[in-house]
Symmetry: C2
Subunit: 478 residues, 2 copies
């Protein structure tokens, strides 16, 4: 793994950054700020033709003046300067680079010539690089984030490789809301030197990466992709969002990353052959990858549904059947055990619906345990994680009349939440939750922070569960 | 409209509430708190067998003691007491009720007998009621919210009628995040007296309701539904989520609201015949209804895509084609106008991708105007609304080095946002935005507060736009 060309890019002891200045409107400057603010522990060498210092760091006039051979160079400079700077870096002995600058193959014939030129320079000096026209990489556990977007939430176990920089960086607020964390994330841009397949190979070997998310506009070497992906999916799941299979998608891909895309059915076949799970939206891509990263695989497709709301119960049940999951009627024995804990208005056959019921311990602890203990159940979907969001709203409204004592309520039900988040490991079965509140709710945040996926709607939870089942079926066919 | 039995339920001058007490763990008490906290302007008469006052209001021992005939009675009491209380209310002259209590048809044969009993009592006294087994109603502009969930965001123009109480109340945090507002919302529960079709008739006539969202587990009188829905959809759009069309969905519906559901294809036909747009998730249900409530209908399916990120541009394009929308290449003339405003790395044929570009005025004002002026364009999808969320994150990270001056940036681009939100009205064309931040971002909140839909992912925006196109096609066939 340490020999893989991406290893040094993702674990550099020193970074030379070309294009950062003291001008805050420049992308290079913002990248350096994030590298500094993210507490990158290695050495940083800004390269700038005029400045003495850049954001307080000593600056160097050119790559030739670097005091040591930097492990990694990052270039965010005008397109026309890229070949010369890359050559100078090569002369100084630098062998790994990320080329952020755009204006290459994606803009047409002239850009293609320029791209061929940098590929040739890299070949001569033995440089391996990401880009051009990419956004860089993020390795949260290594405190490496030289992109234009700050990484503010906790590291995770999703390895991402993307032909879109936005889906590595601007997507971060979305990911943070479900506490979906990267192990490492790589934007490949035009993939002129290192491409998606290299990332797949690398992330496949990375021990911190438990699942891989791919955003694909086109694949250059389909056979290589199948070879590598087939090997990786025998050990860890890959979820892919492919957007080049329609006329408009293909056209947009070409002008975005210069990608040659192929017809949809061809990619369907390619994914099937490689054991890759296909998603159709960026939300699904990351939510499914996160479910894979956090949960054990189900042994079958028999789902239990548990909630205190009939609407979500029915939505979950309907969505399960639509996605090929079963919601079997529980055995009389299991029904009997459940029924003892329910009010008279509750349903107990599956879905289990507590109806209006304030005791969260029954919902979050007792019932899930009884249900998951049963060998007929392969996984659990629970809608209705709810803590402070409801009580705080109510407190605000009720203030003139009464004090709604949330802190007292919280003390009672949070121990049940502790038990709840341990369910997947305890029973080796997947559990996915949903809630209409996000992390402003303390119960939602609690669950998410402990790596139990909690998504925004019942249907999203079902889709993620169905992806787990799909991959489990692929693995069991081996 | 004022003659419709639901009118008085939604506009009561006085409410008798049976089941509220001074015990905060009781649902009736929470309902009264919300009625008070929501600043309901009418008179409130708590009915309680022992208490002298309930939450500071004078309480009455029984319906018979009511000092006037209340416009509406709300019952949240044990199942077995419902018939007697309903009778007493009838004796006192009360003619409108909401029966929250469950334990009727949805629990089996005994419950069915009880339900028949209250239907008969209502017939005798001429009472029209919602429920049983429902959650009540919300009429934000009338300050009427006697449910267990506070309504904290601004009123809107979506009329909701639902066989799930959760999808009227617990869904509120979700709706608030996209500033999706109700005109009026009605939970019908078992629909023993007033049912979904009555709601449809009523909301169809309500002038503040611009679009209707229906959550359906089953329909009792399909012919009545078709008759009323067909008439309503000639004037305003109806979006429906039907969840009873699968085996598990049907079973869950039966135990939730005692509904008799029918096969999926039958409901497909029923919706088609009535001009109803079918959604498959609760997110889509409300997001589409909100788009309908806010935007003009497109004249055709030719979409323009505008963004500063290539990934979302390609996702939008691909999703458009998958949903039957076109992303035509712009005319040379339009391309020329757009190109003048882009950096060299930008794409201008459609999708339009600015790439990294800090001038929000170009993205939010100049380009949308040029594009929407063009007669070949029927609607606009814009990804990348972004204001404070990015800058505040960056400020936090960059603090030790520099002060990132967001307030200065904001002054420059907010005037462009003003122009942006006026686009749909100015050009009589729909515009739907997407962003990976929610309302913690001031630009997202700004747009949403002015009724320009801004959803959480590119694919969600496309789905809503496709729903608009589908309904526009239905309307144009007349």
């Amino acid at each position: 793994m340490t020999e893989h060309p991406l290893y040094q890019i993702m674990h550099p002891n020193s970074v030379a950054i070309v294009g950062a200045s003291n001008d805050l409107s420049k992308m290079g400057t913002i990248q350096l700020l994030n590298l500094l603010g993210g507490k990158y522990p290695g050495k940083i060498y800004p390269i700038h033709p005029q400045e003495e210092t850049v954001l307080g760091l000593k600056a160097y006039r050119s790559p030739k003046e670097l005091p040591e051979v930097a492990d990694l160079a990052i270039l965010t400079i005008p397109t026309s300067s890229v070949p010369e700077v890359l050559k100078d870096l090569g002369e100084r002995g630098v062998r790994r680079a990320i080329i952020i600058s755009g204006g290459f193959k994606e803009v047409g014939e002239n850009g293609k010539v320029l791209q061929d030129q940098i590929v040739e320079i890299a070949r001569v000096y033995g440089i391996r690089f990401l880009g051009p026209n990419c956004i860089g990489v993020i390795h949260p556990a290594f405190n490496l984030n030289p992109t234009m977007y700050p990484y503010l939430h906790q590291p995770g176990a999703v390895g991402a490789a993307s032909q879109s920089g936005t889906y590595v960086t601007q997507i971060l607020p979305f990911l943070a809301k479900s506490q979906i964390g990267y192990s490492q994330a790589i934007s490949v841009g035009n993939g002129a030197n290192l491409d998606l397949v290299d990332c797949l190979e690398y992330l496949g070997k990375d021990p911190a990466t438990k699942a891989i998310a791919l955003y694909i506009e086109g694949i250059k070497q389909p056979r290589e992709f199948i070879r590598v992906a087939s090997r990786v999916t025998r050990e860890k799941p890959i979820v892919a969002l492919y957007v080049g299979g329609t006329e408009a998608g293909a056209r947009s891909s070409a002008s975005h990353t210069g990608s040659i895309s192929g017809p949809d059915h061809l990619f369907d076949a390619l994914f099937r052959q490689s054991g890759v799970i296909r998603a159709y939206s960026v939300e699904d891509l990351y939510e499914w990858a996160w479910a894979f990263a956090c949960l054990p695989l189900p042994k079958g497709r028999n789902m239990a549904i548990l909630t205190h709301s009939g609407g979500p119960a029915t939505s979950l049940a309907d969505a399960c059947n639509r996605r090929g999951l079963k919601v079997p009627i529980f055995s009389k024995n299991l029904q009997g055990k459940i029924r003892q804990l329910l009010p008279a208005t509750g349903s107990y056959r599956n879905p289990v619906d507590l109806t209006f019921f304030m005791d969260m311990r029954v919902l979050m602890e007792k019932l899930p345990q009884i249900i998951l203990e049963d060998p007929s159940v392969d996984g659990l979907l629970l809608h209705g994680i709810q803590g402070s969001s409801y009580f705080r709203s109510l407190t605000e409204v009720a203030k003139p009349w009464v004090n709604v004592p949330y802190e007292k309520v919280k003390k009672i039900f949070f121990p049940a939440m502790e038990a709840f988040v341990q369910l997947p490991e305890k029973y080796a079965k997947p559990v996915i939750a949903s809630a209409f509140a996000d992390r402003e709710d303390d119960a939602v945040a609690f669950v998410q922070d402990r790596r139990l996926p909690c998504y925004r709607s019942p249907e999203r939870a079902v889709r993620a569960m169905a992806a787990l089942c799909q991959y489990a079926a692929i693995r069991s066919r081996e």
